[in-house]
């Protein structure tokens, strides 16, 4: 049987999908054809390759999945651009109004409650903006975090998520800058380190390395060292990581 006639049968033979008689015919051909025998060997060795342990996923993937499910199944909050603009205006106006000294007769409790509502509104608008399709809107959302003295954990989580997953490098870089203001929070520093391990843009990697050095995060040393010794990483990034390890070491000594 010539090789070209065997093509389909060989594929079926490899998949174990031939009847005994058909398999015998293929084996008879294999006995005399080194070319087809070598194809069988490739198939067998691919099987060995697929059994290697390195293909095992990490357990942490499940917690990331749970977090995604939680985030995505929250009650939907869809903001139209005009509504976001209006929300920010109102939040800005009320924020400004209550920032000025209030008459002594006004009850402090009400003011505090209103301030809290304004703050919640502003944070909700920011989180919503970070989820927009337009990169410009997402950048605006990041810039708006500058109006918060101390964001709640939802805003921080949304910023970290943007840093890790946004498809636009400029947006990811802006997220690094915005998060630097809150680097005293352990969750932010952890977000930097985890994002650095996963980042693939040299620009973002360098921004993250610098942010970790500025935040004096000694916990990041291991990730930085791994980056430094990884041949597949951009040379400039590796040099920066090396410098960062030295600077962090000097600060902790």
């Amino acid at each position: 049987m010539p090789c070209e006639h065997l093509r389909d049968s060989l594929a079926d033979y490899l998949a174990g999908a031939l009847r005994a008689g058909e398999a015998k015919a293929v084996e008879a051909h294999l006995a005399v054809c080194e070319d087809c025998r070598s194809a069988v060997r490739v198939w067998q060795r691919l099987g060995d390759l697929s059994n290697l342990a390195e293909e095992t996923p990490r357990r942490a993937m499940r917690s990331r999945f749970d977090e995604m499910l939680r985030r995505e199944t929250r009650p939907p909050m869809r903001w139209q651009p005009w509504a976001m603009a209006a929300g920010l205006l109102i939040a800005g106006f009320l924020g400004g109004r209550f920032a000025v000294p209030t008459p002594a007769t006004e009850r402090g409790g009400e003011v505090a409650a209103l301030r809290s509502e304004v703050r919640n509104l502003r944070e909700a608008v920011i989180v919503s903006m970070l989820r927009q399709d337009s990169a410009t809107e997402r950048l605006k959302g990041i810039q708006t975090t500058a109006t918060l003295d101390r964001p709640d954990s939802e805003v921080v989580a949304a910023l970290i998520d943007t840093l890790r997953r946004d498809r636009n490098v400029n947006v990811r870089l802006a997220a690094v800058d915005a998060l630097k203001r809150f680097a005293s929070e352990p969750a932010v520093r952890r977000g930097f380190t985890e994002s650095l391990a996963a980042a693939d843009s040299p620009l973002v990697q360098i921004a993250l390395i610098d942010a970790l050095v500025e935040s004096r995060d000694g916990q990041a040393a291991e990730t930085l060292r791994r980056l430094e010794s990884d041949d597949s990483v951009d040379n400039l990034v590796r040099q920066r990581a090396q410098l960062a390890v030295e600077r962090l070491k000097a600060r902790h000594e």
Partner: protein
């Protein structure tokens, strides 16, 4: 008896999104293997798996009764991979794989041979690598692959055959033309 993938996905589509967790437990390892072979990098593979489940959740209404869940899942996986590859995020497929050095005339150890085969697989064109990953690593039947790729079953078999021979040739080139693959023990 445990619910089938198709039953679970129908529940997810109907709003029982927590059931996606059961599908994650069943299939994330297979998707991770697929992603590892396609991107060559662990972190990117984990991101890709995350993206695939995100899309399954978001586009759950596109799942149709009577269709195999696994085929639908891999269709989403392929699209997610293609989208991310287009953005240039996987431009260095296989770079994590260490290049084994081969001295002509020397015997290749078993482990080294597998490392070379991995390297050769990473060098194949995307479509051929994907076909071998699905057919061999995931042991997906040819008719299912045909459905997934929207081609005839005969075409799948021809392409598998061609991909194997190409892989053999790339492997041979990597060894400097000195070694053919051994049979597994």
């Amino acid at each position: 008896m445990a619910a089938s993938d198709e039953e679970l996905m129908a529940e997810v589509r109907a709003g029982e999104v927590r059931q996606l967790g059961a599908l994650f437990d069943r299939h994330h390892a297979a998707l991770f293997r697929y992603s590892m072979r396609m991107t060559g990098r662990r972190e990117r593979s984990e991101d890709l798996v995350q993206e695939i489940f995100f899309r399954m959740l978001r586009y759950r209404e596109t799942y149709r009764d009577g269709h195999l869940f696994v085929t639908w899942m891999f269709r989403i996986a392929r699209n997610a991979y293609i989208d991310q590859a287009r953005k240039g995020r996987f431009e260095i497929v296989g770079k994590e794989v260490a290049e084994p050095s081969i001295m002509p005339g020397n015997e290749i150890e078993d482990e080294q041979e597998l490392a070379l085969l991995r390297q050769a697989l990473a060098k194949l064109p995307d479509a051929q690598r994907e076909l071998l990953v699905l057919a061999r690593f995931e042991q997906m039947p040819y008719d299912q692959i045909a459905d997934l790729l929207d081609i005839e079953v005969g075409t799948v078999k021809t392409r598998v055959h061609r991909a194997i021979k190409n892989l053999r040739d790339v492997f041979f080139d990597l060894t400097g033309g000195t070694h053919a693959l051994r049979t597994s023990s």
